[in-house]
Each structure stands twice: as C-alpha cells, then as structure tokens.
Amino acid sequence: MITWIKSGSIVDTIKGLIRKADILIKDGIISEIGIIPSELKQKEGVKIIDAEGMLIIPGLIDMHVHLREPGHEYKETILSGAMAAVAGGFTSIACMPNTDPVNDNRAVTEFIIRRGKSAGFAKIYPIACISKKQEGKTLTEFGDIKDAGAVGISDDGMPVINSDLMRRATEYASYHGLTIISHSEDPYLSRGGVMNEGDISTVIGLSGIPSISEEIMVSRDILIAKFTKCPVHIAHVSTAGSVEIIKRGKEAGVLVTAETAPHYFTLDHTAVTGYDSNTKMNPPLRTPEDVLAIKNGLADGIIDAIATDHAPHSTLEKDLEFDKAAFGIIGLETALPLTLALVRAGVISLPEAIKKLSLNPARILGIPGGQLEPGLPADLAIIDTDYEYTLKKEDILSKSKNSPFIGKALKGRNKLTMIGGKIVWE
C-alpha cells in the first residue's frame, strides 16, 4: 500500500522550517519526502491525497488529557477521547491517572493500554500516580507500572503536599527513566477558591485562588529538582510568577520543563464575569498580565509544551452554581486553532508552535513522534490554517461539551489525521 500526499507544505519541527514537498508512505512508514516523480500516479494501488494549500504537520501529541475511563464513562471513554483527539489533529495522547479507580498499579495501566488499542484512533499513553490512591502518602510501584507501559508519573488534580514524598518521587522516577509531572498547587492557599484572586473576583463576588498558590509549589518543585538533579515537569503553568521562576530554574541548569494550556494564553479572568461554569478550571484563568507572560514564556522557550488539560465534565457537574460546578474544560478539538491564533499574532513561528504541540511533549515523556522523516511511522495531520468556522456543540466528538469556545469563531482546522499511514479522521 502506497500513499502519496501531494503538494503540501511540510512543517519540519527539527529544522524549524516549512517546505513544500510531497510525502510518500509505504506500508505505514514515510519512505520519501521531496518532489515525487509524477509517473507514480500511473501505478496501480497508489492512493493520492492532494494537499495543495494545506499544511502537513507531525501528528500532535497531547501530554495532558483526562479520559474518564475507568470510572466515569458518562463523561468520556478512552474511545470518545481518542476520537476527539484525532479530530483535533492529535495522534498520541497521554492520560492522567485520576480515574476511578486511579491508575496507581499495573492492572489499571494495562487496562488503559488494552482499551486504547481496541479503541483505535489515537495512541493512548497512560500516566500513573505518584502516590497510591493519590493520597500523597506512599509511592506507587514506578518500575512495575513503567514495565506495564506508563510514560510519566503524576498525581495530577491532587497536589503533593508532602515535600519529602515529592523529593523521593523525583529520585525514584529518575532511576526508572520517568519524569514527574507536578500539579503545582498549595491547597491551603487555594482552599475554597473558584477563580483567580484579583480585582475581578472582588467585583463579581467569587472566592479567589491566589497566584502564589501555584508559584510557591512551582518554586518548591524546582528546588527539589535542583537538589536531586532529577527532572520535573510543571503542568498547566498559568501565572507570570511561575514563568519567571521556571526561567530562573532553567538558567540555573535545573532539569525543569513546563507546559501551558491554550486557555491560559487565550482567555483571562474577565471571561468569568457572567458566571459561565465553562470558564472554571484549575488553575484558574488569570489576569491579562499573566496571559502576556505565558505568551512570552512560549516565545522565549521557557514553556516547552502546549497541552490541553482536556477535562471532560457532563452537565451534571457543570450545569450548577459556579462554586459548585466542577473545575475543567475540554480542549482536544480547540488546541490547534487556538495555537494557530498565537502564530497569526506573531507570538511564535508556526514550526515552533507545532513543535510545542508534538516533538517537545514527546521528548519530555520519551515517546515517539513529533517529526516527519523517512523511516518513521506516518503519524501526521493535514491542516487548513485559513479555514474559518464557528465551534458548534453538536460538532464536538468528546462526550462532554464543556468548552468556553462553543459559539466562538475559530480559524484553522484539521482536515485529515493519519496514524501509521492509515487515515483515522477526515
């Protein structure tokens, strides 16, 4: 089986450039990138995909999603999450362990991998818990879980309050070649808060989560990483202070990487006025100054990756009073257009943006993907950066529709997703 993707513009995440070329795929593997002689067309069994005017990007990689299986399948299943992923241009996603039961042992990790394989669509990579039951007390069996297929370790959703446990986790994870992903939050400072603490929370009368609740823990975890000389990855960075602290950590040679989510560079806390629970997430939407700092952090390479923190919740958790509604929004199907908006605004170059959505998270987790080279599996997406549309609830493939971008005009859309040379979405 030969597929010939014709006349597209290929995003090279390694060299950081875009070049017009054809891609030839044989048996799921990229065999050639360049100008393919047109005689090929005559041959039988060659599937031709015309990508004229389109961008061909490595399949996107989301290192931070919540699939609700096992436990809360009414919000999202591994299958519905994988479908939403490929619709958004993602070919690999890493799922956080806060399911029910939590992914704190080999059995759950294996279950997720098995379900991911039978679901098809995107490649599913489990992230396992730091502590058993996410209780912050005892380390999980990192070695055994890694053997079962976990690619990262995190108590995402639950901050690790015990600094000694966090220290030991980085040391032990590093021995097994795993990176700790830190949900950085001091729960005493954020207690009771439902949005950013600032002038807007005062005006609209909601309890605030101060920026220091995140920054104190970002500082701590960077200090731990410095002390142990082990890597740590900071999840969902939302404040200017965190960007500054990570910058200093990197300058000091600490093995720290960081991600942010598209909503943190797209929306600020003024979006909460009106009490729409789809503007409620943790960490919360911050100030316009924080949004600017996040953009600068992406531009300066302080923030390595863009991850969605895709957090499906049904109307049962979201159609409630703001303070009672669940934290989190879905993101798999909006990450690409929201990131392309950054490119249009001149914040980062297109190859750099795609790199933060593919190669960089792949490197942090140590999983394949994020580049298009001969010899590699043909995991890619063909996108139309000029396509304009309004996001409609009924078009969302995720089982949950908790997005603040419904009804909003977006620009740039994935047209085709291919995994191992096979078209999985179009």
Partner: protein, 309 residues
C-alpha cells in the same frame, strides 16, 4: 413604556442612577402604607411571589413577605429544608418546576455567588437577588441608601465608612456600588485579612484602623462579623476582633456631629459594635428594618406591577 425596564433585580450594577432614584422615590410613597390602620393595598392582587431561601434569614425573608402581602400578592415560602433540594434537585430544575406553576417573581437567597443570575437566565419569570454568596445583596443596599437619604437629605457628597469583613460581605459589595453611583465618598475599614484585593478599583479609600476611618464621617456602617463564614485564619478570636476593630462610643465621637450608625443585622452585640451604641439616638438600625419593607414593596411593584408582564 414601563418605568422600570428590568425583568430581574440581580445586582446594583444593572441599575442606572435614574433607576435607583425611581426605587427610592417609589419607596417613599409606599412607606406610608405600613403606618396605616389597614396596611394593605390591592396593587399586586393576583400576582404570585415565591420566597426561595437556601440560607437562613429572618429579616430579609419576613421583610419581602410583608412587602408582598401589603401589596395583596399571594406569597409562599420555600426553604432548602422543605424543598426538593434535600432530595438532590438542582437549582435550575427547581426553577423550571416553579415556572410550570406560573409565578410572577421569585426572591432567591443562595450561598452560591451567581445563583440568581443563573436562575434568571433559565426561567421566564422575574428573579430578585436576596443575597448570593459573598457577592451582592442589592435590596439591602437600596434600603440603606433610602435610610441615608431620609436621614441626611442626600447621598451625594456624604462621607461614609463601612467597617468589618468587606471580603465576605455581600452587603458591603452592594452598598459600595450603590453609594458610588449616587456620588458618596466611601471608605472601607477592617483588618487587612478582611479587605479584598482590588477593592480600591472602585474608587474608594481603604483605612484599616477603624478610629482613623471613622474620623469626619457622616455615616458609619457596620457589618456583621460572620462567624459561620470565617475560615480560622482571618482573625485570631472574637475577643481580639472586638478589642481592635469593635466600634465604641469613643470612636464615634471622632465622626461628624450628626453622624448616623447603621448595621444590616443581625448584630453581634459587643463585637463589631458596642451594645450601648445599638440603642443610642444616633443609631438608625431599626429604621433600616422599617425602610426595608417600603423598598421591597417598591421593587416588587416596579418589577411585576401593572397589567403587562
């Protein structure tokens, strides 16, 4: 053309200066009804007013109920303990079920900020915010404005201090908005742990020391220290609060000569306010309660009075 172009009363923010003046003027004419021998007029006959209270309330609920009854509306009360909430019904479902019975307006008190706003979007009848979380209590602010105007002849240019837990007070929030709209000079006071970030964006003064804050003021408005809402880190003890922030006669002497003392109730005697001051001639606390009925009559009339719904 209606006098008052609103379906709901959710926040002082939604009201123009003209709206506020209209409510206060209307309340003035309604106030007299309560001093009559037969305290009832037929203005809202055939209208249905529902009190839906998810938090305990004596003053506000009885004030609304009396106001509605004096206007001849049919009223009934639902509280969280006798509604389907304890059976797990969501607020929006409760709102829609009430809608099926075609009420004209509901008066909603809820511990969640934004609950009345959410309800107002989901139903076709009017919603009055009778206090939502730590956000707003607009009818309390309107009755306070009414009381100030009645006692002082004006609101504009008056120097007003609000003392207490500003962060967690919906009364303070609504009053600050209303007082600023009518041109008062507003100061807030209380320990730094109880003054929210960004409050100065309202164009008000922050003076933490209550004695300093009271100096040369025309109106001293106290807030209830809400023990039920406090986390244990805002202040060490009631004793400590009363000692350093409780308002005493000596402090009141620093205010302007004819200053008035206000409190939205219920009062913790001897905590935020010395007991003797509550009953002193400069206290207008019971006047506030009295005016509350008139203000709520005016609001009910403006929202659901007249023939067109």
């Amino acid at each position: 053309m209606r006098l008052f172009e609103h379906k709901d009363l959710l926040s002082i923010d939604q009201l123009s200066i003209a709206d506020i003046k209209l409510i206060l003027d209307m309340a003035e004419s309604f106030k007299e009804i309560s001093s009559r021998d037969i305290k009832k007029v037929p203005t809202l006959r055939g209208k249905t007013v529902v009190n839906l209270f998810y938090e305990p309330s004596t003053r506000t609920r009885s004030s609304f109920e009396i106001a509605a009854k004096r206007l001849s509306a049919d009223t009934f009360n639902l509280s969280s303990s006798n509604s389907s909430t304890i059976k797990g019904e969501t607020l929006i479902d409760t709102g829609r079920n009430l809608q099926a019975m075609n009420p004209d307006i509901i008066i909603l008190r809820h511990s969640s900020t934004g609950a009345p706003h959410m309800m107002a979007k989901a139903v076709n009848y009017g919603v009055i915010n009778a206090g939502d979380g730590i956000n707003e209590h607009p009818t309390q602010a309107l009755l306070d404005l009414f009381t100030i105007r009645e006692k002082k002849g004006r609101v504009e240019g008056l120097k007003i201090v609000i003392i207490g837990d500003i962060s967690h007070s919906r009364v303070a929030k609504s009053n600050i908005k209303g007082l600023k709209k009518l041109g008062a000079d507003v100061t807030v006071s209380g320990p730094p742990t109880m003054v929210p970030v960004g409050i100065e964006n309202y164009g008000i003064n922050v003076i933490h020391n209550p004695s300093e804050a009271i100096r040369n003021k025309d109106v001293i408005m106290l807030l209830r220290i809400q023990f039920e809402r406090q986390s244990n880190v805002l202040f060490p003890s009631i004793r400590e609060y009363a000692k350093y922030f409780g308002v005493t006669r000596k402090m009141i002497e620093l205010a302007n000569d004819d200053a008035i003392i206000m409190h939205p109730g219920p009062i913790n005697r001897g905590v935020e306010l010395a007991s003797e001051l509550i009953d002193a001639p400069d206290s207008v606390i019971l006047e506030q309660v009295k005016n509350g009925v008139a203000i709520r009559m005016a609001i009910l009339y403006l929202l659901i009075g007249g023939s067109s719904k």
